[in-house]
């Protein structure tokens, strides 16, 4: 338990490096997804724009939502937001802090996707190839092409094999131009995002440090309290189950003893651990009855009190409960069969 606590504290105290590692992994995953994706421009006038912009904008949105879904703390935030006030006031600053830190982590993968897409150039080339300035780059005066025809020809720029407009504008010139624009946009986007991140991170100590320390402490507290409560409930459930089952077996063996009208083979105190563990069930018939009873009628979720206060200190000894007075036991036994 101590060792786990120490490791937990180490991770918490090094949370910066832990979170940086997670962000790095998400960024790499996003870049890997892009390179694995097989980009296939349709090379048709209106479809190009839709496809190119779709690939540029839809996966980042999905990645952003995925970042929230995969974050365990989202349910914690929702719970804290929706719970009734009770005896504990709700602090909006803590909720804001939790939401902001989750949103920041969820933004990493989409930003990386958009940057890699722009720096690669295929998306923008596909989306905007019909808007290439033919007057400056090629021969706009090439005869015999209406607007629609020209758009159809230009739309085939990303697909080199079927491009038939070399006289209008050479494929390499157009692709180089579009790629240059795309990469310039990409680097500007990267610079913008880095600047934003830098500002967000460095303005905080200048303005709101005390409030930040408070929000961070209480958001961490809420997280730990939830985990500890789950742990305590799990412990309680374990003990509950143990006592319930113990009481079931004892009830079983006493019932059967009463039914067979002989003294129960209760192990004497000095018979050793093994006899105690047998819980009074020592033959095949009894065991089969016990198993059948466990299936047919499970005991109620109601533990009997362990011992009546008898003034001579039974309660402090933690031994298996001695036999309480018979009438009460029988009442309980009948109850347990219902």
């Amino acid at each position: 338990m101590d060792k786990f606590r120490m490791i937990f504290q180490f991770l918490q105290s090094n949370q910066e490096s832990f979170m940086t590692g997670i962000c790095g992994i998400m960024a790499l995953a996003s870049a890997q997804m892009y390179s694995a994706f097989d980009f296939n421009c349709p090379c048709l006038p209106r479809y190009n724009l839709a496809y190119g912009l779709g690939i540029l904008l839809v996966p980042p949105f999905i990645l952003f939502l995925l970042g929230f879904v995969l974050n365990n703390n989202v349910s914690m935030l929702a719970e804290e937001w929706r719970r009734p006030q009770g005896q504990r006031g709700k602090d909006r600053a803590v909720l804001r802090y939790m939401f902001c830190s989750m949103a920041q982590r969820a933004m990493i993968a989409p930003v990386v996707w958009v940057s890699v897409t722009l720096l690669d150039g295929k998306c923008i080339t596909c989306a905007f190839c019909t808007s290439v300035p033919v007057e400056t780059l090629g021969n706009a005066s090439h005869p015999g092409l209406s607007q629609g025809e020209m758009k159809r020809v230009l739309a085939r720029i990303p697909c080199k094999e079927i491009y038939d407009g070399q006289e209008l504008i050479t494929n390499e010139v157009a692709v180089r131009y579009l790629r240059c624009i795309s990469q310039a946009l990409g680097w500007c986007f990267v610079l913008l995002m880095t600047t934003l991140a830098f500002l967000v991170r460095s303005l905080r100590p200048c303005f709101t440090q005390a409030a930040f320390l408070k929000s961070r402490y209480w958001s961490h507290y809420i997280d730990i309290e939830r985990k500890l409560f789950d742990e305590t409930c799990a412990e309680h459930a374990r003990s509950f189950a143990k006592v319930c089952i113990q009481q079931f077996f004892e009830g079983m063996s006493t019932d059967l003893a009463a039914a067979h009208c002989h003294s129960p083979r209760k192990a004497p105190a000095d018979a050793g651990e093994a006899a105690e563990k047998l819980l009074g069930i020592t033959d095949q018939g009894t065991m089969n009855t016990a198993l059948k009873s466990w299936h047919r009628c499970k005991p109620p979720l109601h533990l009997h009190p362990p011992a009546l206060p008898s003034g001579n200190g039974w309660a402090g000894e933690g031994q298996p409960p001695p036999r309480p007075p018979e009438p009460r036991r029988e009442t309980a036994a009948y109850y347990s069969r219902v």
């Binding site: 606590r5 120490m6 504290q9 180490f10 918490q12 105290s13 910066e16 490096s17 940086t20 719970r83 009734p84 009770g86 005896q87 504990r88 150039g121 780059l137 390499e172 010139v173 180089r176 131009y177 790629r179 240059c180 990469q183 310039a184 680097w187 500007c188 990267v190 610079l191 880095t194 600047t195 991140a197 830098f198 991170r201 460095s202 100590p205 200048c206 440090q209 402490y217 961490h220 507290y221 730990i224 309290e225 500890l228 305590t232 412990e235 309680h236 003990s239 509950f240 006592v243 109620p300 979720l301 109601h302 533990l303 009190p305 362990p306 011992a307 206060p309 309660a315 402090g316 933690g318």
Partner: protein, 342 residues
Amino acid sequence: MMDRFRMIFQYFQSNSESVMNGICGLLALASVKMYTCFDFSCPCLPRYNMAYGLGIMFVPPVALFLCGLILNRQSLVMLEEWRRPQGCRKKDLAVIRYMCSSIMQRAMVAPLVWIVVTLLDGKCLICAFSGSVDPEKFVGFANASAVQVQQLLAKVPCKDDELMRNNTSRKAVSRYLRCWSQALGWSILLILIIAAFLAHWLRPCFNQAALLQARHWSNYIDIEQKIFEETCCEHSRLFAHKCILHFFESMRQEIKLHSFSLGREGEGAEGEEDLLRGITDQDQVNKLLKAWYYEKPALDVSQALKGHYHASAQSKDQRVDDSGAHIFLQNPNPKVSAPGRT
């Protein structure tokens, strides 16, 4: 407890510098990797070349510099130290200056690596300055009109262009620019290394005592913040533990009040009874879980501590870390005085 603190303290002290150096090295490697992965494609158009070439040479270094500042934990520590109210502790500007300079030095490594690699590779400079070359020097361009010359020179970086494919003058211009680029790259590298060498060796000659002081206190501020965060974590864990135990206890009291059973006087029972905490029924468990959601207990464990200290003579609560509890568990509400042991 003290042993644990000492171990953690040694770990932090030995690793703070090496963690920062490691991040700096990783960023430099990432910078080189990004450059090799990046598909440089010069537009080969008269005005766009210069913008593209210089853009690729200078915009990524700025982004890398900002990344270096963001990823470095010490920059936050330095900003906090700079902006904090004076309080009972004076601010030493020398320490802040020292921290600032060490952060800047580490953040500058990745951008400089990018610039040097770009220059040594040559593609950027060829793209940016192919239009500014003097056409008289090269045979193929000497006898063409000005506009045509500009167009042709702009196409020099593109080897596969149909006009330029087998043009020997293109190769001449390309070689010429590349030579300049690499000379510039190596000179910058040499100057940087000499500067770093001098700075490293001449520093002990100037004000060594002040430097040692500044370094010690900057290290101290860093460690103090880490230990404060760690202490807060531990405190919140103990606080939560106490709060939950108090909640279970108050549930048990409430159940006792409402039920008429005579049992459950065995407060001191060990083992399973203790773990059950008086909750032995499906309804009671449901009630407890509902109360946890609908009425979370107040963030106030002073009652729990009072009860604990009174009962501590009789019963033992094995799970509470007694040695730590009384130092940390004071009432967070300053209006109510804490009953803790001093």
